[in-house]
Amino acid sequence: MRMIDAKNLVFEYIRRDEEGNVEAINRALDEVTLDVSEGDFVAILGHNGSGKSTMAKHINAILIPSEGTLYVNGFDTKDEEKIWDIRQSAGMVFQNPDNQIIATVVEEDVGFGPENLGVPTEEIWQRVEESLKAVGMYEYRSHSPNKLSGGQKQRVAIAGIMAMRPKCIILDEPTAMLDPNGRKEVIKTIRDLNKKEKVTVLLITHYMDEVIHADKVIVMDSGKVVMQGTPREIFSQVDKLKRYRLDVPQVTELAYELKKQGMPLPDGILTREEFVEAMMEVRNGAFTR
């Protein structure tokens, strides 16, 4: 089943001057067509201002498309009556962990979503426990969020979404404000949720090393989807990515540079292991020649 199905999505910001006259119309999304199947791990890449956050806000029905259609879990986001169903089925995690934690105790924050959904008290407790265990933060349940590290806060925010039992989680640059250890924690948590809980994940980021395990990578630039494919397909096009103000993992870049110098290496090497293996081939190949 299709979790997210967008067809020719357009979103326009209208800028007005002080008298209220239309000054400029900015197209933040330009004919975006994409789909995400249930259970997938999809990454959206794009530089700042490429429209990827605007896209995320549409999936959560925070923004409504100017043109085109968007179905989330089968609900049309233009249908105002379905707005809470949409938000419950596609939960959203934001960049700044401090600005999305509402309560002063971890467990109360995780309970906030289910409370809003009108879940009976006993079930709230059960959901809070499960969600906190799923992100590995159960022993911190009675702590104050202010005393946690950035990575831990972000995991609490993820648990807060998980407690709403969504089918899909959208994460809008969840690691941009974290240090490397925090980033690792959060990415591991997201991958676990995708694998074990079968949650569909839509990860928006500009850290290239976070997307190499995704099922599909979408690259956005000036409001358009400009590349789509598996991580290997995407990362074999190093020059194109750089044109879109993006980067590739260091190993990929090294292999790409060596290939340009004539070394017989395959395209789109993503990990250290793959690189070393390819290098062995080069050495053995040299022997047989």
Binding site: R87, F94, I101, E108, F112, G118, P120, T121, I124, S142
Partner: protein, 270 residues
């Protein structure tokens, strides 16, 4: 440092006081505040002081931590004390120097006023030390629930309060950071005339307000994304229910008030 302000910060220790129903604690705080105006002898202060000390001990919040909260109101305290000290008329003049007149009544009054303020602040801050903002919100919401009939948005007001409490430490930290950053650009907050110093606040206040608005916008979006739509149809993770220990607390209040009235009336005036 600005981050040392502890007033209003929840201190988890899991004590019996923490586990009381927030409504009981709210009513207790009100009873306590009212009790401050029921006496004017030394005995009343003694009873109040002992009562407060007992509650603090039971709450397992370190005394040091609570007293630290006084730091932020020290100016107010000094002001009140000196105001009373110099401006209370009386018969026994001790010092008469120009327009400064200190009387024994003034000293007595100043000490009592200072004590009253300290007890008041310590007592009411204990409420926030032992109650999470969410519980506090629930408590207020339930206690004032009758106002809903008059279309007062009780839930919304309570929610705003609890969010404000959550963001106090974050904004304090932010203020600290902005101050340092502007100091790194040569800003000077410590010297110069009053006007100059007030002007020096602009580079702090503007970024602080912008940041507060940005956070508010982000938070509103995050709350909506988690299906928040006001108080209607919401359930509670921790619904309020009176338990036997809450009844005990109410009895303690009654005993406390009776004792205060008793000692104030029947013990010799000091």
């Amino acid at each position: 440092m600005i981050r040392d302000i502890t007033i209003g910060q929840y201190y988890p220790s899991g004590s019996i006081i923490h586990r009381l129903d927030p409504r009981v604690k709210l009513i207790g705080t009100i009873v306590y505040i009212v009790s401050m105006f029921l006496f004017d002898t030394f005995w009343g202060y003694l009873v109040t002081g002992l009562f407060l000390f007992g509650v603090i001990k039971a709450s397992k919040v370190p005394l040091k931590y609570i007293v630290k909260g006084l730091k932020s109101v020290i100016i107010l305290l000094l002001f009140t004390v000196s105001f009373n000290l110099f401006l209370t008329p009386g018969e026994h003049v001790l010092v008469h120097f120009g327009f400064i007149i200190i009387t024994t009544e003034g000293i007595r009054f100043a000490i009592f006023m200072g004590l009253r303020l300290v007890l008041l602040i310590l007592g009411s801050s204990l409420m926030t030390f032992t109650t999470t903002p969410n519980e506090l919100t629930d408590g207020i919401e339930r206690l004032l629930g009758f106002l809903k009939v008059l279309h007062v948005p009780v839930h919304e007001v309570a929610m705003m309060m609890s969010i404000a409490l959550r963001f106090i430490p974050i904004l304090l930290e932010e203020t600290d950071k902005i101050m340092k950053a502007q100091q790194a650009r040569g800003a000077d907050f410590e010297t110069g005339s009053l006007i100059k110093r007030a002007k020096a606040m602009v580079p702090i206040l503007v970024p602080l307000f912008i940041s507060a608005f940005r956070r508010a916008g982000d938070l509103a979006m995050a709350m909506e994304a988690r299906c928040y739509r006001g108080g209607k149809g919401r359930t509670k993770m921790k619904p309020l229910k009176y338990k036997p220990k809450d009844a005990v607390a109410f009895c303690v209040y009654v005993v406390y008030i009776v004792t205060i009235l008793g000692v104030d009336r029947y013990l010799p005036m000091i």
